[in-house]
Amino acid sequence: MNDFKPSIVKLAGLEMLHSLAIIGLSKNAGKTTCLNHIIADWQSSRQPRPLALTSIGRDGESEDILSGRAKPRIYIPAGTLLATAEGSMQRCDALLEILELSDIRTPIGEVVLCRALSDGYVELAGPSSSDEMDHIADLVRQHEPDCLFIIDGALFRRSQAGSGRNEAIILAVSAETSTNPRILAEKTRFSLDALQRPAINTEINELILNVLSDNLRASALFIRVNNYIPEVDILETPSLVGFGHEIAKKIVDGTDFLFLKGAITDQVIDQLLKEETFKNLTLIAEDGTRLFLKPETTRKLFAKKIDIRVLNPLDVRLVCLNPTHSNNQVIVSERLLAELQQSINVPVVDFGPANM
């Protein structure tokens, strides 16, 4: 690999961005390394806006709990905002000023909003639900309206249509997924395809958002368009998993759109596929991060002429490649890059280990 490293800030177009989520394709995908690259590049390119960091649940510990293998730490410059649980705060060595207590509780204490008054290492342990993440985002914006808010993990702000917020995603991919370049490229392409599912048309989008705002507990909406006039049937279940049968029962012959709130898994879809009426319709997810489908399941959907769309299309800016495996096996990055670049429509870069 040559010494020249492209700027991740420029490549992913982060200068003007409002918020960013870093998603890993697997465990040890290199999310933290990617975050460290962004922080370092943000600092060296002298970006005027501050960064604000949090994570979905716990991340950034010095050791991976599962493998016991050393994980990269997060090193931040003074001025960075941080939303992290009390327990993690005590393990940060940057001087932190407490700005706000969020009232959001985690197993290791309340999530606290702080500002770093010095450079230093930090550990992130943020909220674990979308609503809580929305609350944290609001708190962050109260203190730094103009910051780049980075979420280590995938829960996205439930954006209102036309809110004008720009949110983007960086996908971290490592040899952990597969050491075979071709298979890794294939899996990455498939995940990108799910993440980048196109949006549903504006009328249906607005209709769904309206119905959802009046029915907070709705988990599935069944829309039938009759003479240009949509009719909506609502189902309330505590989750999608385990309620495939209830959902399936409500699909009728004329159902044109099926909206499912939350994680759409193989289990849910398998149950739906058993129904004769589950065909020739558009399946709508909140966004691409809610789709957890195997390629085979997706193929079955397409075979039944079921199109998959989302309410909030995601803007994947970059694939960040980490060519190592947790068993220390390293793949030749060039081959992987070449393979990936051929099969996907998003820039792929290996930034190497972060300068910690």
């Binding site: 600092q43 410059p77 003074a78 009390e86 705060m89 005590q90 060595d93 001087l95 932190l96 000023e97 407490i98 700005l99 207590l101 204490g109 309340e110 606290v112 500002r115 008054l117 010095s118 450079d119 230093g120 300068n355 910690m356």
Partner: protein
């Protein structure tokens, strides 16, 4: 409340205590705790209760006029968090962490802000203690910034280390590779020293703040009181509560046009109206009789709730109320759900009767019973009810009983009845379908099926014909006979009705012997 108010949990819900606490919206965890404690004011605390009522009355005026100090007070109160853990840790000499210092700093700021709201505190009858020096401890530079960290201003040594560290961090930012790693290791040494110093400052800060703990505790209690009083004043406005007049025990309780907020709301949703309850309860016994479906239970609950609210420091929902305070209050109704307490229904009543009477011999109570002995044989039941009325008739307590049994006049017993069905309106109700003579009289089998919905709507219509108002009656007024009339209106067979009426007349004739 537990030792003063004798009601089962189920009844407490039915009477509306749960709805009362739910409707009273406190903004702080401390205020909510105070509210849920259901503090009961016994007669010995009549002066405290009067001041409480005065404060609520003052606040009610301020809230109604949108006084800016109320709005500011509420805003500040909503910033207050639960501080019990932090206080207890401080008291035990435990090491506070930065989040806890931040909590204290925020609370001190709330105290300071509210302590400046003179009109509000005056109205609420509350005072804060000065904690300016404690605030200064958590904001050594006096910046007024609400954020917190262990400030360099606490120790010149800490300031020096941080300066050194800052220069090192500047160098680290410019370095790469192994040189950077060396500098990072040097930084770790400085971080360790910084940590040690910060910890000793935390210990010192805790010790200094401990001296201010009594003041801070007083202020947090004051916030709780302010919060609870504002919430009660808001509720008084919402429910049309009234400032009660508190009197000595000798004077009768007078309640004019009391409403039951929960039942009234329920009726309103059904398109009906609550008939306000007015009554005088003298010391001794008050007997309430009246037709079935006449709203006796509702009247008892309304009276009990009004008097209970009064002794819990809330404004009762009525037009006017004057009353002495009671040492204890009891409401007994064995209508439902009590059998599973492991006693037979009369066994349970006997226990209640024993307990109330035992207490009433040394204390002044309000004892309300809704149709006691309803499952007992009528001869003994009449005797028991009569005995209760007689004995409480001679006591200083107030015994208010709804019963169908005939109570003979005796000293200290007064009588009320529900007015009952307005006979003049009966014509509005067409005869019941099951009574119409369409079927063949010779055909003894009656195949017309009964329709639950029709019966429910008919019960509603009969309810609309009821005059629920209570009226005091002379001791010789006959027990109103409403039950047979209602049976007729609900379509009970003519032959059976005739039998009922004959039996009633025979019974009356025997009793008049």
């Amino acid at each position: 409340m537990k030792t003063h108010v004798m009601i089962s949990q189920e009844l407490s819900k039915q009477i509306g205590v749960t709805a009362l606490t739910e409707a009273c919206n406190c903004r702080t965890p401390q205020g909510r705790r105070l509210k849920n404690a259901l503090v009961f004011y016994p007669p010995s605390q009549i002066d405290e209760l009067r001041s409480e009522f005065q404060a609520i009355d003052n606040l009610r005026v301020m809230i109604a006029t949108n006084h800016p100090e109320v709005i500011e007070g509420q805003t500040q109160l909503s910033r207050l968090r639960e501080l019990r853990g932090t206080f207890s840790r401080l008291e035990k000499g435990g090491l506070l962490n930065d989040t806890e210092f931040f909590e204290l700093k925020s609370a001190l700021k709330v105290f300071f802000r509210i302590s400046r709201l003179k009109a509000l505190l005056n109205a609420a009858g509350l005072q804060f203690l000065v904690t300016k020096k404690a605030s200064k401890l958590l904001d050594p530079a006096g910046s007024g910034n609400p954020a917190f960290h262990i400030y360099s201003a606490y120790s010149p040594e800490l300031a020096k280390i941080r300066q050194e560290k800052k220069e090192l961090e500047r160098a680290i930012a410019l370095e790469k590779g192994s040189q950077r790693q060396t500098l990072l290791r040097q930084r770790t040494l400085l971080v360790d020293r910084e940590d040690q110093l910060e910890n000793s400052i935390r210990v010192e800060l805790g010790e200094k703040l401990l001296k201010w703990l009594p003041e801070m505790q007083h202020n947090i209690e004051t916030c709780a009181l302010l919060d609870f009083r504002i919430a009660k004043a808001e509720l008084a406005l919402r429910w049309n509560g009234v400032l009660p007049t508190l009197l000595s025990n000798e004077t009768p309780t007078q309640i004019k046009n009391a409403s039951h907020p929960v039942i009234a709301k329920m009726l309103e949703n059904q398109g009906q109206q609550f008939t306000p309850v007015s009554i005088e309860l003298h010391k001794g016994t008050t007997v309430l009789s009246g037709a079935n479906m006449g709203g006796k239970s509702i009247a008892l609950k309304t009276v009990f709730l009004a008097l209970l609210m009064c002794q819990l420091g809330y404004f009762p929902v009525c037009e006017r109320i004057q009353t002495p305070l009671f040492d204890f209050m009891a409401f007994e109704s064995n209508q439902e759900g009590d059998l599973n307490r492991g006693l037979s229904s009369f066994g349970l009543e006997a226990v209640q009767i024993r307990e109330h009477y035992r207490r009433s011999r040394s204390e002044v109570g309000l004892i309300i019973m809704d149709e006691p002995c309803r499952g007992t044989n009528p001869t003994e039941a009449t005797a028991i009810v009569q005995a209760l009325c007689n004995i409480y008739g001679r006591s200083s307590s107030r015994f208010f009983i709804a019963t169908h049994y005939h109570v003979m006049p005796n000293p200290g017993i007064r009588f009320y009845q529900v007015r009952g069905i307005r006979t003049e309106s009966l014509a509005e109700l067409p005869p019941h379908r099951l009574q119409s003579n369409t079927s063949d009289k010779n055909d003894k089998t009656d195949h017309r099926s009964y329709d639950l919905h029709e019966d429910i709507s008919r019960v509603r219509r009969i309810q609309n014909l009821m005059d629920y108002r209570l009226e005091e009656i002379s001791e010789n007024t006959r027990i109103p006979s409403g039950a047979i009339k209602i049976a007729e209106l609900l379509g009970v067979n003519q032959e059976l009705l005739h039998e009922m009426e004959t039996a009633r007349q025979e019974e009356e004739w025997q009793n008049s012997d």
